[in-house]
Symmetry: C2
Subunit: 382 residues, 2 copies
């Protein structure tokens, strides 16, 4: 059956049989404060002016590939209602609430284990963050289809983004030899994952042509993931199994309450991707679509279309007045007039209870404001 | 009696017999938008962090000199309630409401005429704007006392501010020979008033040592003012007389409704000060106290004490977070957190319905925003 799938992938824009998408919707995205915050994180916002939030856009990308019943969202209990509100097509059974954050391996591992219990060993899961921006659905779909084909051969598969520049903001994937998997002509071995490099190293990576950006997208057979995890983090795997077995029963809350707080807190990169890559078990397919993790205000500004004067406004610009402010970026979400005079490249993010005014360069340091909020006794704004 | 007053002025900080203070409280102060606006103008705001609004501080300066019953405020009908609220010691009879703005001569002339009707020909009036900042009460009081002494000799008297710099933002007074008036050792003839100069001219003025800033402070016997006005603007003077005669009667509204809209719209400078100076009838006494007309955000910032990092906050700085923003000026009046990162000399004025973000230099152009509000269909914010 694996071979059958691999040799006859569905059309790039159509359903991929046996594929289930996992959307881990977590993280506060504090580098996009004050819009994004713990109580109202990044993935719940429309950051592209498309009319859809990042979570909704992620759904829109994955539902055609996995089917509306094939997408699972894992989120914190605090965001359960907001996620359900934003995704009316998401069934209650497909919305998994974490009692507390226990890092990405627990979140993704839980969803994979629940899906395997529900749908059996043929399930291939793909995990895609809820708060990234992607343009190019056809290219995205074709990458996922190839990744699924490779995953059916037993690999942990990642999608490697074409590096546009020597960025120091992302981790890298060192790409090796072609795998020759049927249905996945572009599938290759991963030599290794590399941490976020310094500028010189990043430039050297780009020079070789062998490195791609690591966007944290993983596609793997649920059974393979369970086996790899059992070999490397057996206690975590056993805890997840017990929770998954109880998930669709009356025991869920009891088991979850007992097991969840004890799960090892570890990222999927460290728990599985890196060690399995070292053992030759990770593959990569190229993702040549436009991708951004919207890491800070400056990178978000770059994603938006510029107005005639080079400024950018995320949202309704009726209440924005700019003069002598080329390259300014305004996010008017406070229902107020925002007037900017004589400040090129300024970033102004206006919300009902906080306003950020920063140079484009300094906007990356917004985390220090969020940290300072505790000192200011304003945890309500974090 | 004039000689008696002049030769025996009261102590500088005490009452000045026969002196009545007029506070014209008008003007929107749009250069301090969005805090100051037509509906809530500059004089109603505490712009120094003293806990007193500019209007209240003006009252605090004048009430000791004229007595609480000797201060009259002239304001627009729209601000009558706000003025009364801010000045509980001001009697209803001392609050004169203009049905519509007809420039400074009508406002000051009305108050002077009403005071003359009430208190007779010995009244000396002094007019002091409600929206200037002054520090140095003793020096101020002594300037006013000398000005009153000179006014009793029949002069129109102005108080000339010591020029601190070659400012192009103010008009100037060219000072002439000493007058030798008893009780006013510093009283001198005014040669002429000069309009706001260009930079070279301002520097030349400063060089001569003969020029002082014109702060628009005029002290004059009510009878003299009436005579000068009758000679130069007879229709205006007659209209004011008819209104003043009816003011404390049942006829006030009727006469005001008929006469006020027909009064010539002219500034006191053009109606009286300049022509009378040309005829040798204007005197000046020095005002060596600290004075500022708070013309824009940059000049207001300069009036405030700097914090350790050179930044300034007008109001409570508990909700202000500044990083790498030396010289920044923040006015937090929107009840929200204001965070500024990496923007030296930025001006941020936060109010509930509008926020201004500007470079210090560009803050002077805020009028263009106010003008644009009509185009944006947001006259409510002007």
């Amino acid at each position: 059956m694996a071979t059958q799938q691999a040799s006859a992938p569905l059309p790039a824009t159509g359903r991929i049989a046996g594929f289930h998408a996992i959307i881990p919707a977590g993280g506060a995205g504090t580098r996009l404060w004050p819009l994004s915050r713990r109580s109202n994180p990044k993935f719940l916002h429309d950051l592209t002016g498309s009319g859809r939030t990042l979570l909704q856009a992620t759904w829109d990308r994955l539902a055609p590939l996995a089917g509306p019943d094939g997408v699972v969202v894992v989120t914190g209990v605090a965001h359960q209602v907001a996620v359900a509100d934003q995704l009316p097509e998401l069934s209650a059974a497909s919305l998994l609430a974490e009692p507390s954050p226990r890092d990405s391996m627990a979140a993704i591992g839980l969803a994979a284990a629940v899906l395997r219990h529900r749908h059996g060993d043929d399930v291939v899961v793909g995990s895609f963050a809820a708060d990234h921006v992607i343009h190019g659905q056809e290219e995205f779909a074709s990458s996922v289809a190839e990744a699924v084909a490779v995953a059916r051969e037993g690999y942990v598969v990642t999608i490697g983004i074409a590096a546009r520049e020597p960025s120091t903001a992302f981790g890298y994937i060192e790409v090796g030899e072609p795998l020759g998997v049927a249905g996945a002509p572009r599938g290759r071995q991963v030599v290794a994952f590399a941490e976020k490099p310094d500028a010189a190293t990043a430039a050297a990576y780009l020079e070789t042509g062998r490195y791609r950006w690591n966007a944290g997208m993983f596609v793997v057979a649920a059974k393979v993931l369970a086996e790899q995890l059992a070999a490397r983090q057996p206690m975590l795997q056993e805890g997840l199994e017990r929770i998954a077995a109880a998930w669709d029963t009356d025991e869920r809350d009891e088991v979850l309450g007992r097991e969840w707080p004890a799960l090892t807190k570890i990222a999927i990169d460290h728990a599985v991707a890196e060690p399995v890559a070292a053992a030759g078990g990770v593959a990569v397919v190229p993702g040549d679509f436009a991708w951004d993790d919207v890491g800070d205000w400056a990178s978000l500004a770059d994603l938006l279309p510029a107005r005639a004067d080079g400024s950018r406004v995320l949202g309704d610009d009726a209440g924005v007045h700019l003069a002598e402010a080329p390259g300014a970026f305004v996010v008017p979400r406070g229902d107020r007039l925002v007037a900017v005079l004589g400040l090129p490249d300024v970033v102004v993010v206006d919300t009902p209870d906080a306003v950020l005014v920063a140079s484009r360069a300094a906007a990356q340091q917004v985390k220090q404001v969020v940290d300072a909020l505790s000192d200011l006794d304003r945890d309500d704004l974090r």
